[in-house]
C-alpha cells in the first residue's frame, strides 16, 4: 500500500511539471529535434555499415581457383567451379589433422585438431581479402590471384 501511494504522488508531480511549465515544454521540443538528428545520424551510419558489409562480402574472386598451402608449400590447386563431387582433403600437421571440404564453388575447413579452431569458425572462403588460415598447423586456403599479394616494396621511398 505504501509503495503504490508513493508512486502515485510521483506521477502527479511529473504531470504538474510538464503541464504547467512552459520552459520545460520548450526543452522537450529541443530534445525532440535532437533525437531526430541522432536518429538520422545513426540511420545513415547503419546504412553505410550495411553497404560496406555487403560490398566486402560480395567481393568474390573472378576466378574460383583456390590454392591450399601447408608449411608455405602448395599442396593443391583447385578450380572450385569444376568440382562436381563433394570431397575432402585431409592434411596432417604438428597439431593433428585438418579436414578441408570442397564442393562445387565452395571450400571450407570442415574440422581441425588445432586448439583454437579459428579456421573452422572462419566458414567458407569468400574473398581474397580473408584467406582461411590455420596457424598451428600452418595451413592456408586462399584464392589464386591473392598469391600475387606483395607484402612490401623496396625502393619506393615516397
Amino acid at each position: 500500500m505504501k509503495k503504490s501511494s508513493t508512486s502515485t504522488r510521483n506521477s502527479d508531480k511529473q504531470n504538474d511539471i510538464i503541464g504547467s511549465d512552459l520552459y520545460d515544454c520548450s526543452q522537450t521540443v529541443s530534445y525532440k529535434v535532437k533525437n531526430r538528428i541522432w536518429i538520422i545520424v545513426f540511420s545513415v551510419l547503419a546504412v553505410l555499415c550495411l553497404g560496406a558489409w555487403l560490398f566486402i562480402s560480395n567481393i568474390s574472386s573472378p576466378s574460383k581457383i583456390v590454392e591450399i598451402y601447408q608449411n608455405g608449400s602448395l599442396v593443391e590447386k583447385i578450380d572450385l567451379n569444376s568440382v562436381t563431387n563433394e570431397r575432402e582433403i585431409t592434411l596432417s600437421g604438428e597439431h593433428g589433422t585438418n579436414i578441408i571440404l570442397i564442393s562445387n564453388g565452395h571450400i571450407k575447413m570442415k574440422s581441425a585438431d588445432c586448439p583454437d579452431k579459428l579456421c573452422v569458425k572462419h566458414g567458407e572462403l569468400k574473398n581474397s581479402y580473408s584467406p582461411i588460415v590455420c596457424l598451428p598447423n600452418k595451413v592456408v586456403i586462399k584464392f589464386e590471384n591473392s598469391s600475387d599479394g606483395v607484402d612490401a616494396k623496396a625502393g619506393a621511398v615516397r
Binding site: G72, V133, D151, A154, A156, V157
Partner: protein, 298 residues
C-alpha cells in the same frame, strides 16, 4: 617507418625496435643539429657513442670492399649539389667540385678507441648506410624479444624477420624505376634485408638534364654508370644498404666482378638505363617476374 610483427610478445618488441630506430636517427642524421655526426662534422674530432663509432668503422671497411664506390665522406660534394634540406639544388662549378673533393676518401677519417677524427676538409654523411644499420639493430631487438615473424619498411629499405606467420616466404616487390607505383618483379624471401638505390629516388632537373643524388666520389658528379636502380638482398642490412649505393656507382660490369668474389654475402637485381633486368644467380629461385631477365653467374 612501418613494422608489422606477429606473435604474443610483438607489441612491446615493436615499441622497443621503433625507439632504437628513432635514437639512431638522432645520432646519425647529417641534418639534425643535435646529432653526433653533425657535431663531428663541425668539431672534426670528438668522442662518439659506440653505435656511431662502429658504423664509421664498418663504413671504412665497406669503402675498401667497394674500391671507394661507397664513401661516407661524400658530404662536401653532396652539399655543393644542394642535396640537403634548406639548400637549393644546383649544378656546381668544376672548381667547386674539385675543392669539395679534396677532403673525400676514407683515408681522411681516423678512428681510435672512442674517438673519430676528420681531416680539415672532410665531413661525413652516413645517409647511405644509416637506415641499414638501424634496421639491423631493430631486427636484433625484435629477435631478442621473441619475434619470429616480422616485416619492416624503413624509407624504401625492407627487412624480413623469419617467414610469414603461416610459414610462407615474404613477397617483396622491386619498384619499377620508370613508375614506382608498379614493380618489375617480386623477391620471395625470409630473414633478409632488401635495399634499393635508384636514380629516381631523388633528383633535380637543370637545363633539361636530370641530376640524381647518388654521387660518384671519383668524379664528384652523379654516378652515370648505365643503371636506373640496384636492389641488394643480404642477411646483413648494413652491407645491403651500402652495396646498393656502391653497385649503382660501379655499374653492371664492375658489379659483376664484385659479385663473383662475394656471392655468399649478397644477391642483386639490376635495372639498366635501357630497362633490361639482370639478376644474380643466387637469387634465381627467389626472383619472380613476368618480364624477361638475364642471370649473372658467379
Amino acid at each position: 617507418m612501418t613494422i608489422n610483427a606477429y606473435g604474443s610478445k610483438s607489441e612491446n618488441a615493436v615499441k622497443a625496435a621503433q625507439n632504437e630506430i628513432n635514437e639512431l636517427d638522432k645520432l646519425l642524421s647529417v641534418q639534425n643539429k643535435d646529432s653526433e655526426i653533425y657535431k663531428l662534422n663541425y668539431k672534426k674530432s670528438m668522442t662518439v657513442s659506440k653505435d656511431t663509432h662502429s658504423l664509421i668503422t664498418r663504413s671504412k671497411e665497406l669503402y675498401t670492399l667497394t674500391d671507394g664506390a661507397f664513401d661516407i665522406s661524400c658530404e662536401p660534394v653532396s652539399r655543393e649539389w644542394g642535396f640537403y634540406s634548406g639548400l637549393e639544388n644546383k649544378v656546381p662549378s668544376k672548381e667547386a667540385i674539385e675543392n669539395a673533393l679534396e677532403g673525400v676518401g676514407a683515408d681522411h677519417i681516423k678512428t681510435e678507441d672512442n674517438t673519430v677524427t676528420l681531416d680539415e676538409n672532410t665531413s661525413l654523411d652516413l645517409g647511405a648506410v644509416a637506415k641499414g644499420y638501424a634496421s639491423q639493430k631493430a631486427t636484433e631487438i625484435l629477435k631478442e624479444n621473441g619475434v619470429t615473424s616480422a616485416l619492416m619498411s624503413l624509407g624504401g629499405n625492407v627487412r624480413a624477420v623469419g617467414t610469414k606467420p603461416d610459414g610462407e616466404l615474404w613477397s617483396v616487390a622491386v619498384a619499377d624505376p620508370n613508375d614506382t607505383s608498379k614493380s618489375i618483379g617480386t623477391l620471395k624471401i625470409s630473414d633478409k634485408a632488401v635495399v634499393t638505390s635508384g636514380s629516381y629516388q631523388r633528383y633535380f632537373e637543370e637545363n633539361g638534364q636530370i641530376y640524381h643524388h647518388i654521387i660518384d666520389t671519383k668524379t664528384g658528379y652523379p654516378a652515370n654508370s648505365g643503371l636506373k636502380s640496384v636492389t641488394v638482398v643480404s642477411d646483413d642490412d648494413t652491407l645491403a644498404d651500402a652495396l646498393s649505393t656502391a653497385l649503382f656507382v660501379k655499374g653492371l660490369e664492375k658489379s659483376k666482378e664484385l659479385y663473383s668474389k662475394n656471392s655468399l654475402l649478397f644477391g642483386a637485381v639490376f635495372i639498366t638505363d635501357d630497362n633490361k633486368i639482370y639478376v644474380t644467380d643466387n637469387l634465381n629461385d627467389s626472383f619472380i617476374s613476368t618480364q624477361s631477365y638475364e642471370v649473372i653467374d658467379k
